[in-house]
């Protein structure tokens, strides 16, 4: 099994081999495949090109996507597929998502972009009350499975209140939609293609911090990574760490540091938050007996709470220590205080140590 090198610009190179409870990698060994070194926005761009190419009834729209978008994820699409399939919308999130639901209800694939996840709230009603419940309340006569909503989320270091939020927890509470968060360029391309082709409405959060920072070898062909399958990206025996998106980079650093102190950490990328892969996490925690969850969103009511409660139900007698959550603080996402707010490597390391030494 070829190990894939994930190289992040300012971070250490960490080999991410996909062994463990589930073998998720769908690419064959690198022999005959062309791979290219791409960053996150280029990988997503490739995925969108492939999606539009393979399905003539797919559309990409949102604010400013025509010229390439504020993060360059939609570059070249309007030129290649025409203004009828890739177009700008006025500034109205509620309208954009509602419009997407309608398009999807007629059997099309609508890939909608919300410019920043912080602005998704006007569309919250459409997503929760319309998209998530359409199939259910029509008794399967109608559905908007072709809808995929993409939004950049997460901290960038200086984004402040409205360019840094992680709203995934709000959407994980809505049966009927799926929530997917990739951790790297190769994952993003595969997961986005899966999300677009999945017959359910999907909310796809992209870690904006990694748009340029993360560079990885990404296969050039059309491939999909299955949804609702978590991946063990690092094997270990003493403690299980669960995370998603950009936070995994930080957690990997903490794992390396913990190893120097003799603690062997198992790191799991959840990938899909709703519906999430409980089996993989359960198997891992039954092996290690300890669980730590980390996410940027505020700790109270964050998705870590759901993971913690479920694992407690399933692994109670196997747990050696309480489940630890190292998350954002319960404040609005601050401007100057961002370094204090964020769940940093050291906070995770401290929590690893105190959980192991409980």
């Amino acid at each position: 099994m070829a190990s894939l090198l994930s190289r992040f610009c300012r971070k250490l190179a960490v080999p991410g081999s996909a062994h463990g409870a589930r073998m998720v990698s769908t690419t064959t060994s690198c022999g005959s495949e062309t791979v290219k070194s791409l960053n996150l926005y280029s990988a997503i761009n490739q995925a969108l090109h492939i999606a539009l190419e393979t399905d003539p009834r797919s559309y990409v729209f949102g604010e400013d996507v025509g010229f390439g978008g504020v993060f360059r994820c939609t570059t070249g699409l309007a030129e290649r597929f025409g203004k009828n399939r890739v177009f700008n919308t006025p500034l109205c999130e509620q309208g954009i998502v509602g419009f997407g639901i309608g398009l999807a209800a007629m059997g099309n694939r609508a890939v909608v972009e919300i410019q920043f996840a912080d602005y998704i709230y006007p569309a919250f009603d459409q997503i929760v009350n319309e998209a998530a419940k359409f199939r259910y309340r029509s008794g399967n006569q109608f559905n908007c499975g072709g809808l995929t909503i993409r939004a950049p989320y997460g901290a960038v270091g200086h984004g402040g209140h409205y360019h840094s939020q992680s709203p995934e927890a709000f959407f994980c509470h809505v049966p009927g939609i799926k929530v997917v968060i990739p951790r790297s360029p190769r994952e993003a391309k595969g997961l986005l293609l899966s999300s677009i082709r999945d017959p359910n409405p999907v909310v796809f959060f992209e870690p904006k911090w990694l748009y340029r920072q993360a560079v990885e070898e990404v296969p050039e062909h059309d491939y999909m990574i299955p949804l609702s399958e978590a991946e063990v990206i690092r094997q270990g025996n003493d403690i299980t760490l669960v995370g998603w998106g950009a936070q995994l980079t930080v957690m990997e650093q903490a794992c390396l540091d913990a190893e120097k102190e003799g603690i062997s950490c198992e790191l799991i990328d959840l990938k899909t938050l709703l519906p999430w892969d409980k089996e993989t996490v359960e198997t891992s925690v039954k092996k290690t007996g300890r669980l730590l969850i980390s996410h940027e969103a505020p700790v109270t009511g964050g998705f870590g709470a759901e993971i913690s409660a479920t694992i407690l139900e399933r692994c109670f007698l196997k747990l050696e220590a309480p489940v630890s959550r190292v998350c954002g603080l319960d404040t609005p996402f601050p401007l100057v205080f961002e370094p204090f707010y964020m769940p940093t490597k050291n906070k995770i390391l401290d929590a690893i140590k105190s959980t192991v030494n409980y």
């Binding site: 604010e63 400013d64 025509g66 010229f67 390439g68 504020v70 700008n88 919308t89 006025p90 500034l91 109205c92 509620q94 309208g95 410019q115 912080d118 602005y119 709230y121 006007p122 270091g157 200086h158 984004g159 402040g160 209140h161 409205y162 360019h163 700790v299 109270t300 630890s324 959550r325 190292v326 603080l329 319960d330 404040t331 609005p332 601050p334 401007l335 100057v336 205080f337 204090f340 707010y341 906070k347 401290d350 929590a351 105190s354």
Partner: protein, 389 residues
């Protein structure tokens, strides 16, 4: 302010003797009537007259205030590029006439609420330069104690309600302010500013309907700078006649690069709102910078367009021409004024740089009322517990 500056020029060795005559004129408040260059377009109301009553001192104050605003935005640009300002920074240069014209027509008890492009509106409301720069750099001395940043300037004593990051969210808020003003019966109004991008938000129409239904003294001002981030108005609005979009609510279209026209329109709007309820003003304006400092502003418009507007419609140049042609000031005096403003701004930046960042404990303050007793976990769940205040 103008007077103290002018006294510097009384030195006879530096100035020709004719300056002493000009000194009377430039602080002169005798009314002058000037016609606006462009007529007003109206919807469901009678447009106000094109003849604006002003005075030499007012026009001079326009010049000074706009030069100060322009200089502030340019300084913010450099500070952002030097990474002293982080986050997102949305600059107002090109639109200064709106801020000064509005102030000239209203009092500090009338409320203004705007979007994230709020630096100059804050200065217009009497905000200090050092407070603005401190806030931009996230320092304690900032108007929001360093906790808001570029998009969240507020000034309570001047009824400036900020400073909002989410597009269009300030409009229903503004109508709510007007509602409170109507209750208080004190004859004040609220100006809720938004952009051409926000004009397509559903909440605008919801708020407008309520304001019209209950006759609220709300004035909705669309700052139409023709681009919603990267999308031009003709590509985002079926009807780019934003002053008509109120449908049953009267509207007025104004040349937003002409400070006098803005003053006239705002004066008219205030009188209208107090008698007849809401009115929509569309200010035809332009921003030279991109949407924010992260946007070069050239991927969706040509450089020729930007420089064209700068040559033909620049608000400061207009006022300069007015001052020169009415003989209110000389070229040299205006250049001196600009130099003074530049120095003011540089001094404020230096002062702001010295202000410290807020204390780390401030991270947990101002969330709830004090002694609300809500606990939050700090960095490490097991150790640091904080009570939110």
């Amino acid at each position: 302010m103008a007077l103290s500056r002018l006294s510097l020029r009384s030195n006879p060795f530096l100035k020709p003797s004719t300056t002493s005559i000009r000194r009377h004129v430039s602080t002169d408040t005798t009314p002058i009537t000037i016609e606006t260059a462009v007529p007003f377009e109206s919807h469901l109301c009678d447009a106000p007259s094109r003849s604006v009553v002003t005075s030499s001192s007012e026009i001079l104050s326009f010049f000074r205030d706009m030069a100060r605003m322009r200089r502030t935005e340019i300084a913010a640009d450099s500070l952002y590029k030097a990474k002293m300002i982080r986050g997102f920074c949305h600059l107002y240069d090109g639109q200064e006439a709106l801020a000064v014209g509005m102030e000239a027509a209203i009092t500090k008890k009338d409320a203004i609420i705007t979007s994230y492009r709020d630096h100059c509106t804050f200065l217009g409301r009497g905000g200090e330069l050092v407070e603005a720069f401190s806030e931009l750099m996230g320092r304690k001395r900032g108007c929001s104690n360093g906790k808001g940043g570029s998009m969240h300037f507020y000034k309570k004593d001047a009824c400036f309600y900020g400073g909002h990051g989410i597009v269009g969210a300030q409009i229903p808020l503004g109508c709510g302010l007007a509602f409170a003003q109507k209750y208080s019966k004190e004859e004040f109004v609220t100006f809720a500013l938004y952009g051409d991008g926000a004009a397509n938000q559903g909440q605008l129409f919801e708020a407008l309907n309520i304001a019209a239904l209950w006759d609220l003294p709300a004035i909705l001002v669309c700052e139409n700078n023709h681009y919603g981030m990267g999308t031009a108005t003709w590509r985002s609005a079926k009807s780019p006649a934003y002053f008509k979009r109120g449908d049953y609510v009267p509207g007025l279209k104004v040349d937003g690069m002409d400070a006098l026209a803005v003053k006239q329109a705002c004066k008219f709007a205030k009188e209208h709102a107090l008698k007849n309820g809401p009115i929509v003003l569309e200010m035809d304006t332009y921003r030279y910078h991109g949407h924010s400092m992260s946007d070069p502003g050239s991927t969706y418009r040509t450089r020729d367009e930007v420089s064209g507007v700068r040559q033909v419609r620049d608000p400061i140049e207009r006022v300069r021409k007015l001052l020169l042609s009415y003989d209110i000031a000389t070229e040299k005096e205006l250049k001196d004024m600009e130099k003074e403003v530049r120095k003011e701004v540089d001094d404020a930046v230096a002062q702001a740089k010295e202000s410290p960042v807020p204390e780390p404990s401030e991270l947990f303050t101002n969330m709830y009322v004090k002694d609300c007793g809500v606990e939050s976990f700090g960095a490490d769940r097991k150790e640091l517990k904080v009570t939110l205040t």
